[in-house]
Symmetry: C2
Subunit: 232 residues, 2 copies
Amino acid sequence: MRSSDIAEIRKLPLFKDVSEDNFARLMRGAYMQTFPPFVDLITEGDSSDFLHIVFEGSIELYAQWNGRESTLGTLRPISTFILAATIKDAPYLMSARTLEKSRVILLPSADVRETFLRDQDFSRAIVDELATCYRTTVKYSKNIKLRNSVERLANYLLRKNKAFGNANVYELPIEKRRLASFLRMTPENLSRSLKTLRDHGAEVDGNTVRISNLEKLSEFSKPTPLIDDPDC
Amino acid sequence: MRSSDIAEIRKLPLFKDVSEDNFARLMRGAYMQTFPPFVDLITEGDSSDFLHIVFEGSIELYAQWNGRESTLGTLRPISTFILAATIKDAPYLMSARTLEKSRVILLPSADVRETFLRDQDFSRAIVDELATCYRTTVKYSKNIKLRNSVERLANYLLRKNKAFGNANVYELPIEKRRLASFLRMTPENLSRSLKTLRDHGAEVDGNTVRISNLEKLSEFSKPTPLIDDPDC
DNA sequence: CGTGGCCTTGAATGTATTCAACGGGGGTGG
DNA sequence: CCACCCCCGTTGAATACATTCAAGGCCACG
């Protein structure tokens, strides 16, 4: 691995407080790899040999059952996945594929577990990361259980608008069919729901989202930090 | 707190490896409390002053939004809740109420966080617990996203049958309306789905479940450890 | 012995999925 | 450079699935 990459990794919240020794030991077994688009990195059910970290590009988390497939999230730099399986030395619960050309760090799970025991600052960072991921999935479940599909979509548009600096105009960061799956809807249903939202202050043309009436959209969406704030 | 209670707590996986000193310090601030049925213990949005542990009874986790309510889980002895909020010193994402007379241990969150930093074995146990909870919610999301309501119900009946020792006859552990909410259905829909399952090897009369044809039910349910095994 | 909550059933409504068809954009290969 | 094809997104119609509303039975509880 290039030393410039290692310096970058060192800056990650997960590693920045790890002792010099322990970090060096972790990096000895680590490697950075570049993947083309639409490559499966991990498959649910497999044992977790590596902790993955997205360094560049984007990664889709998805799951399958009985011939169906569902998107559970999209990861962008810089995020880890899937930490819980690594920590527990348990099988992956989700699969992951690149959506574009991506650079990914692979850390042998055994090394991560060992460093966890050895380095208090690392274990603290791991726990923080784990707790954050956990809370993300709880919010995700609440979103799906408490809202219907149009409400989920409306709140998604609001969340992304905030993430893009409240510009009120932005591009959808993922394909519509993946967004549909993420929001637990079919692509057809997404299309129709987008039309519905024109009456509520949001217009989507192609991949361009325009919040034409933020107040109206907010009133319809009723966002709450306990579901929609990623930092909460 | 009674010393017999403290001895019981000491046996919990979360605490059994904690040093004598640290455990004693934790217990100084802890207290055990008995609550009547249907008492709200925590409310989503509140700050997490205590880590809770169910000692006796049962606790419902639920969330609300826009006048709606949804059950996210039921806790039985001995489980913690809600660890992630305590660790991150963040607001609760779920509310919790007793469903019956329950005994609950309250540990001041600040003490938990302090002990976490002080005691390596405790931090290890915390991480394991967190990772387990995290994986539980991932499985929950997969269940809801990949299965329709009858499939979710069928797999629920199978899971509980396994939990009750594969006796093929057992009592539903929670009220049907709460089960319905947990499975993301209405009570009416649950009633009708139970009738549907008569054709697939499961008969439910009142609270009594009878798996009349396990093979048929399994074939219909298509359970997978990556969703249905709580220990996976 | 009333009363209230839970569960069930039926009917009507609303929401979401499926199936089919079509247009457009991007990429490939002739 | 163009023709072609494939996949995505959209639209419409039919269907399936789920919710709502209303009513009644049952049990537990006061």
